[in-house]
């Protein structure tokens, strides 16, 4: 969780100063924005790089002890408590698509809690190292594992700076049709790609909003009028391990 000590790059500074003015562009009155609801892509059309999906997490709003995002992910994708097939694996070997991380500032005693999962990097180390092409980034920025090609070498798990991936050690049963998982393959957060493909929102974000924490925003980072882009423009959002220059799709505020 270290932050970069590099001086802010000039283009970023320009972006930040311009952001204030640009934010008002789509506003017709304070707090009222002209936005069009995102149209779901037709099922027979491939994804394109016109969109880049991302999540913004506000760690200040994230509830200490709240586990709603994790439970929702388990339920949606059938891992952890939602699928008891991994009983013979030790806790650290079991699937972990998303986890809650708590950090404490020793100087101020301030405790921060946040969800940690695949950061859907633009230049993903897992994609770089994969020897078979199983680990790949979709056109719309979602990083996935093609389990048909994965040989289970776990190189991507070692390459990931966020410890976001897990490996399945035993035969599974009762997987869900929209989230196939199997022994001998690596898996991670899919950004609920099956929901996103049909115009939906990832289960974790939905659960966080349902808990009224409102700590997570999901949307298209390329669309400057999307809620996530406006939030990022107005209040900013950091990458974890920004020093690695991965340009993550998941951003954090309040860390």
């Amino acid at each position: 969780m270290s932050e970069t000590s590099k001086p802010m790059d000039p283009s970023r500074r320009q972006f930040m100063t311009k952001a204030g003015g640009a934010a008002g562009a789509a506003a017709i009155a304070p707090g009222v924005f002209l936005t069009t609801p995102a149209q779901a892509r037709p099922a027979d059309q491939p994804v394109s790089s016109d969109k880049r999906w991302g999540i913004l997490v506000d760690a200040n709003k994230c509830g200490t002890g709240c586990n709603a995002c994790v439970s929702a992910c388990e339920e949606e994708n059938g891992w952890g408590s939602a699928n008891p097939s991994e009983d013979d694996s030790s806790a650290e070997q079991q699937a972990k698509w998303i986890r809650k991380v708590t950090i404490k500032d020793k100087a101020t005693q301030h405790v921060t809690t946040l969800p940690m999962m695949c950061q859907h990097c633009e230049t993903a180390p897992c994609v770089d190292v994969c020897p078979t092409g199983a680990s790949f980034k979709r056109e719309d920025g979602i990083v996935l594992v093609d389990k048909h090609i994965c040989i289970g070498c776990r190189y991507c798990m070692m390459a990931c700076p966020y410890k976001a991936r897990s490996f399945i050690h035993e035969d599974l049963k009762d997987q869900l049709p929209w989230a196939p998982r199997g022994k001998g393959t690596v898996e991670s957060c899919t950004l609920c790609v099956h929901r996103v493909d049909e115009g939906g929102t990832p289960a974790c974000v939905e659960a966080c909003n349902a808990e009224t924490h409102q700590a997570m925003f999901f949307g298209d980072l390329h669309d400057e009028n999307s809620e996530i882009s406006r939030e990022l423009e107005q209040h900013g959002g950091k990458e974890i391990r920004a020093d690695l220059g991965l340009n993550t799709g998941v951003r954090y505020r309040g860390i």
């Binding site: 779901a40 099922a43 027979d44 059309q45 997987q175 609920c192």
Partner: protein, 174 residues
């Protein structure tokens, strides 16, 4: 001399019959248009399959080439996010699911499972179901997960021909 000539004639006749015989039989088979494994008694697809609601392609085509369709769809879906329902494995399972005497869907280990009937007979080992669901996911589960906008869980009509009928039956049954 004439005996030898007669023998030669007989021999020529035998050879020509032998040569022509396969031609005659193939012509016969062409008329019948038999399916691969036509002697196999396969589990009939249960509800959601009728004369009106036929399979996604002709039966002979599906028996020979279903694996090609699934393989193609697999890459389109995983890498490009194309989620048409026509050749989706989930849709195959939803339609061809078989129930046992107790009304429970049989799993792929059971030889009555639609895929298992033929693959056991042909000794072709498939590993699709090490990861993929081998039975339709129950409507109760679907309702539970319906909060998302996904057609897997919602009542939105899909692009595929079979899908809306399938979903209707899935949600109305039980």
């Amino acid at each position: 001399m004439s005996q030898a000539k007669l023998l030669r004639h007989l021999f020529a006749l035998m050879i020509s019959t032998l040569l022509l015989l396969p031609l005659a039989t193939t012509a016969d088979e062409g008329e019948k248009e038999s399916l691969p494994f036509s002697d196999l008694i396969m589990t009939e697809p249960t509800q959601r399959y009728s004369d009106e609601t036929k399979c996604v392609a002709p039966e002979s085509e599906m028996r020979r080439n279903h694996m090609e369709y699934i393989l193609h769809q697999r890459d389109e879906t995983v890498h490009k996010g194309i989620r048409t329902r026509q050749f989706s494995l989930e849709e195959c399972i939803n339609c061809h699911a078989v129930k046992d005497d107790k009304g429970e869907y049989v799993r792929v280990e059971d030889e009555r499972h639609f895929c298992a009937t033929c693959h056991t007979y042909a000794s072709v080992n498939i590993d699709c179901f090490q990861c993929h669901a081998d039975v339709p996911v129950r409507s109760s589960k679907m309702h539970k997960l319906q909060s998302g906008l996904s057609p897997h869980h919602s009542n939105e009509p899909f692009a595929g021909k079979l899908a809306s009928e399938t979903l209707q039956l899935l949600t109305t049954e039980d």
